[in-house]
Subunit: 654 residues, 2 copies
Amino acid sequence: MGALGRLILGRPTREFAPRARPVIYRIRHALPLLAPDALSSVAYAPDEILLTLAAGGVVALTLSPWVGLAIAAVMAVVVTSYRQTVKEYPEGGGDYTVAKENLGLRAGGLVGGAAMVDSLLTVAVSVSCGAQYFGAIVPALEDHAKVVAVALVALITLMALWGIKALDQTVIYAVYLFLGALVLLGVAGGIGHLNSTLGKSPAAAFEVVPTAPYAAGLTTLGAAFLLVRAFSSGAVALTGVQTISTGVASFREPKPRNAARSLTFLGIMCGGLLIGILLLAQRVGAVFVANPTTELAYPSGQLVGPEYHQEPILAQIAAAVFHDSWPVFIIVTALVGFLLVLAATTAFRWVPALMSMLAQDEFLPKQFSRRADRRVAAHGIITLGIGSAALIWLMNASVTRLIQLYIVGVFLSFTISQLGMLKHWNGKLPLAKTAPERRRIRSSRAVNALGLALTAIALVIVVVTKFIYGAWISLGLVGAAFWVMLAIRRHYRRVADELKLPREGREALGLPSRVHAIVLVSAMNRATARAVAYARASNPDTLEALTVAVDMARVWDLRRGWVRADLPVTLRVLDSPGREITRPLIDHIADLRTRAPRDVVILYIPEKVVRHWWERFLHNRSAARLTSKLRHIPGVVVASVPWQLDQPPDPKSN
Amino acid sequence: MGALGRLILGRPTREFAPRARPVIYRIRHALPLLAPDALSSVAYAPDEILLTLAAGGVVALTLSPWVGLAIAAVMAVVVTSYRQTVKEYPEGGGDYTVAKENLGLRAGGLVGGAAMVDSLLTVAVSVSCGAQYFGAIVPALEDHAKVVAVALVALITLMALWGIKALDQTVIYAVYLFLGALVLLGVAGGIGHLNSTLGKSPAAAFEVVPTAPYAAGLTTLGAAFLLVRAFSSGAVALTGVQTISTGVASFREPKPRNAARSLTFLGIMCGGLLIGILLLAQRVGAVFVANPTTELAYPSGQLVGPEYHQEPILAQIAAAVFHDSWPVFIIVTALVGFLLVLAATTAFRWVPALMSMLAQDEFLPKQFSRRADRRVAAHGIITLGIGSAALIWLMNASVTRLIQLYIVGVFLSFTISQLGMLKHWNGKLPLAKTAPERRRIRSSRAVNALGLALTAIALVIVVVTKFIYGAWISLGLVGAAFWVMLAIRRHYRRVADELKLPREGREALGLPSRVHAIVLVSAMNRATARAVAYARASNPDTLEALTVAVDMARVWDLRRGWVRADLPVTLRVLDSPGREITRPLIDHIADLRTRAPRDVVILYIPEKVVRHWWERFLHNRSAARLTSKLRHIPGVVVASVPWQLDQPPDPKSN
């Protein structure tokens, strides 16, 4: 690892974030560490609900609390089902483990692929949304949300690489401060509402212009379709709940019970916050539309035009509630933005663990299974950073567009996981001995059946209503990830089959008849002498030194040195009409192999080991090329005999 | 070499341009192959002379033929001295060999560095100038000279990589056509002048506005300084003459005589063409200035402004001479542009040879000495292509600015080479036996003394007058190249010293006391079995199999397989508290080395050889990292035992 590598990856001795053994936390620390993902989705879900309903005009907007209620109901089912999951799979692993154990490895692979894509999107969504909140405080940033978001991703990536421990502590504080800010917002808003001193959102002054299909008024069918679309957008609030099921191992004993409690608590919190935010948004007249330029108008009927910057809902609420004390508005909005950005760290903590699980099942290159190895984990972290930054850039940091990509993968995992749990109970039922046990299993199964029905419906709605808006992109990405993972697994399986020892393994373990040692030499020096000595020490059946005659003057020098050294090894000079080095050697060795196919050829290559990276360009170039070609000839072993240059002489070695 | 490599480098079987043994040509083919460099400089030198004189206004322009005459005189001396060089150094090698043999390796290195930089600049200059001529025919290209020039460099680079034989033939034709075009131009111009039917250059209608220091009129001192600067710019016409001295080997026997003849012929041609072009330019009123926007005015006194495009001198002459038949104008101008672009191929032919010479003297990495190896030669060609394209881009394809960089290196080489020849004669003089021989040596020495005086003066003038215009850049580049070359040579010398066998070499050749073989295993399979079999076949003093316990399940699998295979080798499992692979192994082996420092450890690593490049990411990653770390421990040999995946089973091997 060079200086640059050290700069990017941090010092090798510093502790690395994805540790080999998970650190154990109390609930009051574990929950905030695992919660930001779910809490952040509560921050952006209301925007998506209002945005969808706004297409139907002002009347449609009054329906928003009902949409929130529907989502909270689904969340209750999902939370209940994940409580069961953490109890049944206390080792963690989440949806991937559930799918793999109950529906087979391929289903697991599909969930794994979806989880990889979702981890990119969760970073992209929450950082982009965080950039919006910072833009609401510092208007100069509003026009550069894309750049701000990518810079934040870069910062988080570096912090994850350095494994800064303070990051965990910061996340815990940020969650409590965020919750505090929202409670403050709710209490102050409620008091204001009762005293009738509640302000209005700055956007409340505008008229919402219904978009084309709803311009003529809202039909019953139109309203139903709008509600369905609003539900499918708002369903993004459900994301992040499953994170706890992946982190069971981080809780104190009894792990499953603590995790289940945390889940319930998180579910109640998220559901309550979502409905609360939607109600407050209605009271303050918050308005959020897809295209402010064409959908917002002054009371005079004139469109607001491209100059207008739309603030996210929580910023609008904060502006209304704290309209008479802007420092509080700034603090509350900043805390929301801060939590959104830190929510991305959940994915950075999770991805190396996910890749390690996938690698253990041979869905990814084997080296990823060693996530304690900082270099290996760094690959996952860097990929996540670059991938999510690319998505932000391509989608112009548009939260709405990114969410349309995001929820497909989330609901795909949800649905497969529910199906897996259903099968899990079906398998467990016949083994139950007592009636209460059977009853318990049946009722658990009922929860998952309901969960399956709800999430499957939501998945269908999401795919149908969002297909052209981006769901096709995420389906494509998930499909591609799945395809690559299957290809990798197939490769490993094929290799394992090829390498499997036959039942009567003895003949495969037979020794080669004879050993031919060849020392490759180009000049007579200490490195050559060492290679010859080592080759002789291994007592081969035949031993010769070999050189290629590219430059006759050098060959003569070599011959002279050889004679002077008086070595008991013959020096053979290979002709090279084309003045090439590799070809004649390959031919010679291949020839040797053909004449004695049951023998083994060991080629000793003296190699100079340099201390500085740039010196590598000055040595061993032909040896490197030769080695890479020789690897394809069976029965040839390449033994590199190193000579360490520039090192204090080792009196003990020769 | 992958598909992309093949696409860029061409098929391995196709013949490659820089051949191992030079092809022998008759004079009528060898001369045109070596001449384009010199001829092309005659095409752009007049522009530079007129451009410098134009600063002094119209009066100064009348002096241009005198400047041409001075340059022709210097050329006569330079040609005479190079005639001597080719006779004394018939193996070729040019200035580098002369400097090295007479002034020592460091002087050779300096000339070599200058030659490397000049090869970049000769390509940049002649292609940029060629782009100007094409712009004179196709006005749409005029605004994009930079892009056109870079595209042409890319094309030439690819042709050089592919080693297209037709290129040589094309160059020969292009030279004869270029000469034919210039003779036609001269004859038609001369007849036109006698009949008074000669047209005027389109630029003759403009007034030349003298620049600031000369605006008040031309003083004697001012005129002298202008003349000196014009001479130093026009001296670029001398470049390319030395090319013949590097290509003596390409001539038929008697090589030195044929080369000397060619030199004389080339010198007369270049001198004649230069003076002829300057005279014709004066007759047709050709005007060429550094900044047309500020230095050219309509007769009304109004400046021509940035819209005006200035054509190069030969295009202006052709336009005037063939003012009544534009097809002839187009053909003549295109032939000039064509030759200028093809002149760049000389550098592409020369650079691999130069790098080979420098590498033989250890100024460059050794692999460059094998220029018959297409991969090695390709490095030089690609470097030349990218470097010259970068110079064109940075200098905005401005011929004038590039020439200011170019001539410094050229005259540096000229001067050192003349000094070398002077020393050569001084060394030869005492050995001469007869009086005529001594006389001949003395007169030869006088030529080189004169040459040294002239080129040294020219070098000083060039450096002084051009320093701030770019000479500092090329001096910096030459210095950097020289510094890198010296560093490389120092490195090789130090390594050679370190590796030198002691006089009483016997004890250095002593055998290690014992051989410890270690087979690195991670799973029980055929690849492992093969590695164990090969290790056993080499009859080591001790033999053990080693694995690192990262994943206990895998270790148990391995142990079971080991017992079932009933191998007579113990399997040792190393603990890894940090779940790392490399560290425990390194520690174990280092420990072994400390306990028995006179022994040698051979580590057998079973390695899976894959067929597709992408499969490399799936295997041997830990082995590769381990190997690169083990190289730094003395007395450890890494023997890789390959298992070729996916290959037809070889019944003969085990």
